[in-house]
């Protein structure tokens, strides 16, 4: 006997993401799911965002890593609530892990929740966490061809941050070709060019972040 199923394999994760979404909406928390390969600058962008906005916006952070609490310690030094999730080998965060992390955060005192996903340009794209916006970071040394190699994440991102633009004189990164390739598969994403080292472009980025608050 054949039973028709026609259900998405990750529907259980999607349901948990919806549950997170409902809780976060009720608490009026705006959530960014920040994804990139390892070393592109997720933690640096989070730190710069906190430094730029913490006087006017109450920020919380969830750090996802396979192992260690290095990132959570760095963020904790900025005196914002932070929860570290160690996935123990899994290459991405899942909605259930985020749901448990939310229990440890003072959601009534948070306007903006930044979730740093596990460093990976493939897997995090498949797993919704309950975020409002998906943010993808690509750093200049990785090369502009990554759009073609990891189309899923580039096609679904709401914002794409090109980080480390201070390295443009030293790296082969064709900005016009990159912008054209991104626009080819994603018309709606906002694209930012920043350097977390020199802070160039950070203000434009944080303006976009605050424009998403309270929606």
């Amino acid at each position: 006997m054949e039973i028709k199923v026609l259900k998405d394999i990750l529907s259980a994760n999607d349901q948990m993401a919806e549950r997170n979404r409902a809780l976060l909406d009720s608490k009026k928390v705006t959530v960014l799911n920040i994804m990139s390969s390892p070393g592109s600058g997720k933690t640096s962008l989070i730190l710069e965002t906190i430094r730029a906005l913490k006087k006017q916006v109450r920020i919380g952070v969830i750090e996802g890593d396979i192992a260690s609490t290095i990132d959570a310690q760095k963020v904790g030094e900025e005196k914002v609530p932070v929860v570290q999730i160690n996935t123990g080998g899994e290459c991405h965060l899942e909605a259930g892990q985020v749901g448990r992390a939310l229990e440890s955060l003072p959601l009534d005192k948070i306007d903006l929740l930044l979730i740093e996903n596990v460093g990976n340009l493939v897997c995090p794209g498949e797993f919704k966490l309950g975020e409002d916006k998906k943010v993808l970071i690509l750093s200049v040394p990785e090369g502009d061809d990554k759009v073609h190699k990891y189309p899923l994440l580039f096609s679904m991102a709401d914002a794409i941050v090109v980080n480390k633009i201070d390295l443009l004189p030293y790296a082969r990164f064709d900005v016009p070709a990159f912008l054209k390739a991104v626009r080819g598969m994603n018309r709606r994403a906002r694209i930012f060019q920043v350097s977390c080292t020199t802070r160039k472009g950070i203000e434009e980025w944080t303006k976009w972040v605050t424009s998403n608050l309270g929606q």
């Binding site: 039973i3 394999i9 189309p151």
Partner: protein, 113 residues
Amino acid sequence: MHELAVTQSMVNLVLEEARKGNARKVKKINLVLGELSGVVGECVEFYFGLMSKDTIAEGAAISFSTVSTQARCRQCAKVFEVKESDWVCPECHSVGVDLVAGNELFVESIEVE
């Protein structure tokens, strides 16, 4: 890369559907995988062997139906298969496309007794 989590979710889904259908044994699982999902069938089979042990799905065959990446050109509306990461429309050579297929990841049906 994330086959462990995908396979675990698949096993849960299959067992739940089998239970709803009062099945005693799951013989076959028909999966649909889009190229862009990046899920590798061999890995799914490997994990499935471990995770289905001592369940009614133990020993079930998995059939993979792969969906190629398809895009629709925003200029001329031509639907074309994206090969070797070439997202340029073969008809009018413009670069603006919308994804039509390729990110599927679902259980189409199960065969039970």
